[in-house]
Symmetry: C2
Subunit: 336 residues, 2 copies
């Protein structure tokens, strides 16, 4: 009676079935599948016909055992940051008409996840903001083709990188705030160091100096945990010499800063201007109207996927793609 749980892959059409139906060898079918050289048009046509007729789909794990799985792994540091959805979209566009499929790994521990993805024969990996695995990057790159989004330290030709110019992005923020009349510009940064954070802090510092605001430099480093952010922002906004503008390293933090400021009865931007980074969908909402730096997440994802496929298909010299960021001004920072 329990015919429900079919035996594994019961009736799955294999390359053998296709070969038989088309009256050719298994090897011929494999060649057509891979668009390999040395197949006549007539053979190819026969095979494609049979594939369509039988609704054949290659089994990725079987392919992977000798060749590729046509699967790319994507690793995010944080699922709750809406910026990463933009990157996904870009990866998807790049893969749309290819045989490749991206899979996002889900885990608390990035290191374990990288291993799990290698165990699962991913043809290549895209790591986004690879803080936790930073010390292992060379090891990983030696095991699997690798592209990093949000990492500014290339190592020989081991991997490609895709970035926006984080130093410039931070400079743009300071310039913008300065132009709006703000002087005591503080920065909410991330406690966990990374090359991206380093660049943003550097851009902030350098531009503050160049604008003659060197003495106002004030960087608060904080985790991403909601409560930590609230405590840190509250402490800053209640301090005797409160800043008149706050540059947050990512929109999510900026939105929380708006929340804390609102609770303290401060008005934005009169009492405190707020600027974020990433220009996510939440910036446009009327309750935020958040000025932010657009780093084109979709473009970053698109390029990363393209570079990764190139690497999988044989490129060995590294490429480093950089997007120029631009500031998108909204009410949260405009002079009243």
């Amino acid at each position: 009676m329990s015919e429900i749980k079919a035996p594994k892959r019961a009736g799955r059409v294999t390359i053998r079935d296709v070969a038989q139906d088309a009256g050719v060898s298994v090897a011929a079918v494999s060649k057509v599948l891979r668009n390999a050289y040395g197949v006549s048009d007539s053979l190819r046509e026969k095979v494609l016909l049979s594939m369509g007729k039988l609704n054949y789909r290659p089994l990725a794990s079987a392919r992977g055992l000798r060749g590729r799985t046509y699967t790319l792994g994507l690793l995010l540091p944080d699922l709750r940051n809406p910026f990463f959805a933009d990157i996904f979209d870009g990866v998807n566009s790049a893969l749309a008409r290819t045989q490749y499929q991206a899979m996002q790994g889900i885990s608390v521990h990035a290191n374990e996840l990288v291993d799990a993805m290698i165990d699962r024969q991913m043809d290549g990996l895209i790591l986004i903001g690879p803080n936790e695995v930073a010390s292992r990057l060379s090891d990983i790159a030696n095991r699997v083709p690798l592209v990093l989004i949000g990492h500014h330290e290339p190592v020989d030709n081991l991997f490609d990188t895709v970035n926006n110019d984080d130093q410039l992005g931070a400079r743009l923020v300071v310039r913008h705030l300065h132009a709006q009349g703000h002087r005591r510009i503080a920065m909410m940064s991330l406690a966990k160091a990374s090359t991206v954070i380093t660049q943003r802090e550097l851009g902030y510092r350098l531009e503050m100096m160049e604008q003659g605001l060197g003495t106002a430099i004030n960087i608060i480093r904080c985790s991403q945990v909601l409560r930590d952010v609230q405590v840190a922002v509250r402490k800053l906004l209640e301090s005797p010499h409160r800043p008149d503008a706050l540059f947050c390293w990512t929109d999510l933090i900026a939105i929380e800063a708006i929340s804390v400021a609102t609770e303290l009865g401060l008005s934005i931007p009169q009492d405190i201007a707020v600027v974020g980074y990433d220009n996510t969908m939440y910036c446009d909402l009327a309750q935020n109207r958040l000025t932010s730096v657009d780093q084109s997440g979709e473009l970053l994802g698109l390029q990363a996927a393209r570079l990764l496929i190139e690497r999988i298909e044989g490129r060995t010299e590294a490429e480093h793609f950089v997007v120029t960021p631009r500031i998108v001004a909204r009410a949260s920072s405009r002079r009243p």
Copy 2:
């Protein structure tokens, strides 16, 4: 010179290496790996020792060719809805000390993604809000163990479901708004029908009737596209007989509704109360203070993963897990 791109899996430790090191057969190692019966303690110990020494990791695709890949597939309808991050967390907790790993598929087309996951030998699938594949659910379940989150129509024993009681959730919202003195309660629903939406609309209708508000029933159906939502909400709020409360089927829509209302110069909740669903992290922010229905996304994810593993390991009768939702009241709906 190009020693960089190592030959595929160069030097990967295989089950054969472990067998040789331990002085046992390949089959014995396999048995230890799978915790299969019929292995003496001493043999197991030897094998485990060698595995550790050689840092052996089984290759999922090779395992999958005969048995399981120990990989579960997760499909989301929408990456931008923060509710799904809660579900992820739950899935992860459930998998923490198992051999299983979850992978989230990324694609615009759910149907293609399901096939891609089956091609990649996922041991089972968790589909969340499976609107686009609703008509294929039986087909899919016949090919792979299946658990659905957010689907209210079981089919025989084909798959398990994990839900909150959506009808009750909607009733709680109406009751709450009624208790706060609101009468003209409208509902922002989703244009694309689903069993979840049907239940929420039903709960809204039934409770409106029971509260004597039958004549005020007003359901606006709308896509999830930002612009469509804005247009629909604006039209509603500018209509002559404006509602005094708005029940939105998910927080994301509610937050956009707050944005539109704010732009129109309306104050919340004096002019219009707003209530969402899912109780996501954005509800707590001071600029939203959004009342919402908590359906315990993390618990849903946890249960779904557990049920899926049970099914993979042989259970054939369906199980249907239901969480009781609760309302979390905040300023967006409280009587001033």
